[in-house]
Amino acid sequence: MPEPRIVLQGVRREFRGGAGVHGVDLAVDPGEIHALVGLNGAGKTTLMRLMLGMLRPDLGEVRIDGVRIEDVGSTGWAGVGHLVEQALAYGELDVRDNLRLAARLHGASRRDAMAMADSAIEELDLSRYADVRARRLSLGNRQRLGLAAALQHDPTLIVLDEPTNALDPAGVILLREAIVRRAAAGAGVLVSSHHLDEVARIADRISVMNDGRLIGSLDPNAVDLERAFFSLVHADDAARRAA
């Protein structure tokens, strides 16, 4: 059995007031698209930050390709692509230069970075904006730029937080194809979303998060995902109130 791309064991990180993530176990296998769904404030972004070293857990551990996150070296991080919160896009640089710099930061040589950027511009249909400064891009095209920066180096672990935010329908399809293509090549993908229908189209597994915990999973092929989702969330809320 291949090593999961990422494993979280008993990960806990609590903020003042009780918000945060309260003991989460989760794994993303190679070739798997794992969706994380939940209401606002459920802890999805916090969980993703913990996976990427943006936060350190109070308890538990995160492993990427079997290596504890504290010990992941440059080669390990070169295989990670993410878009959590805002895109890595500098307003004074055009789309092409932004992508080249992002590729360099992901370990690509100067020459490879140029080729990667050109390829990503084509994949995310950014050709018209290649020479446009990022500060002049619409929100949707800025999001495409951020996604291109996260995916262009063909990472083996992809973490995307609400990646369809601000995307137009064409952008959503391009993103879906880009994710499916990379998963087919062996990448493990964790993606959070509010759009259950959208998630159901590509996810192999859907985990539901509520109040900082994983409370169950949904069948991507189920007929009424929305009803199943709210059943889980309401049952969890009721159980916690009763406890």
Partner: protein
């Protein structure tokens, strides 16, 4: 991570940061205002002093009795010690603090290039900028002196010109804490506020004549009166970028997106 990987990471960070800085408006405006502003102020003050303006002569203090290169460089040095410090502090605060105001800091996590390497890359780019500004200011003030005929009236004073690159670099070095404050507070404005406080402290101490051995004060004191600060005291200034550069790298290495 191996030493080679760390070195490679720093090299990439320098290249990336240099590209970002050179393309930014802040770079052009800060450099332009510092270079053009200082040159224009020097010209204006010297013209007013030459015309016998009593207020300007009073402000110049002991410099009012100076002549030739000594007067030109003395005036430039005094402006540079305060104005240059402000420009350097603002620039270094922006270099670090912009990642928070632009929302790009999250993208600097989970990379093969360490965040401490990125912090060092930013510092290197800042110091290279300061060296370039030092060179441009020296050339401009040299040309100003030559145009004023100082090569004939005061040929022996040309060596004074060397105070400009040295003072520019010393000023840039003591402004490094502003980058650390901007990183710690995650705010460009906090770095700028720190710069203003540091300017006031340094200028007050310089005017009172205290602290030639205090790194923060030594350049400003030296700008007013080079004989007041022994050479070893100037070398102590190097402690500032080393300590605060290391503190900045550590702050970036240990950073969490928890606020």
């Amino acid at each position: 991570m191996t030493d080679d990987a760390i070195r490679a990471g720093i090299s990439v960070a320098i290249a990336v940061e240099a590209r970002k800085v050179v393309s930014s408006r802040v770079f052009g405006w800060t450099t332009g205002i510092l270079v053009v502003g200082l040159t224009a102020l020097v010209l204006g003050l010297l013209a007013a002093a030459d015309a016998g303006d009593a207020r300007v002569l009073a402000r110049l203090g002991p410099l009012a009795d100076a002549h030739g290169w000594d007067l030109l460089i003395g005036v430039a040095a005094q402006i540079l010690a305060a104005g240059g410090f402000g420009a350097c502090g603002i620039f270094v605060a922006w270099i670090y603090g912009r990642e928070f105001s632009d929302g790009t800091v999250a993208g600097l996590f989970a990379l093969p290039v360490r965040r401490s390497s990125i912090a060092i890359g930013k510092l290197v780019v800042y110091l290279v900028w300061a060296a370039a500004v030092a060179l441009v200011l020296t050339v401009l003030l040299g040309l100003l002196g030559l145009c004023a005929g100082l090569s004939e009236t005061d040929p022996d004073g040309l060596g004074e010109l060397l105070r400009i690159p040295l003072l520019t670099m010393l000023t840039a070095l003591v402004a490094v804490p502003a980058g650390w404050i901007a990183s710690l507070a995650r705010s460009v404005l906090a770095g700028i506020a720190a710069t203003i406080v540091l300017i006031i402290v340094a200028q007050v101490c310089a005017i009172l004549g205290v602290g030639p051995w205090i790194p923060l004060v030594a350049p400003a004191l030296w700008a007013i009166d080079p004989t007041a600060v022994p050479w070893p005291a100037l070398t102590v200034v190097l402690v500032v970028p080393v300590v605060f550069g290391a503190a900045t790298a550590f702050t970036w290495a240990r950073m969490q997106l928890d606020r």
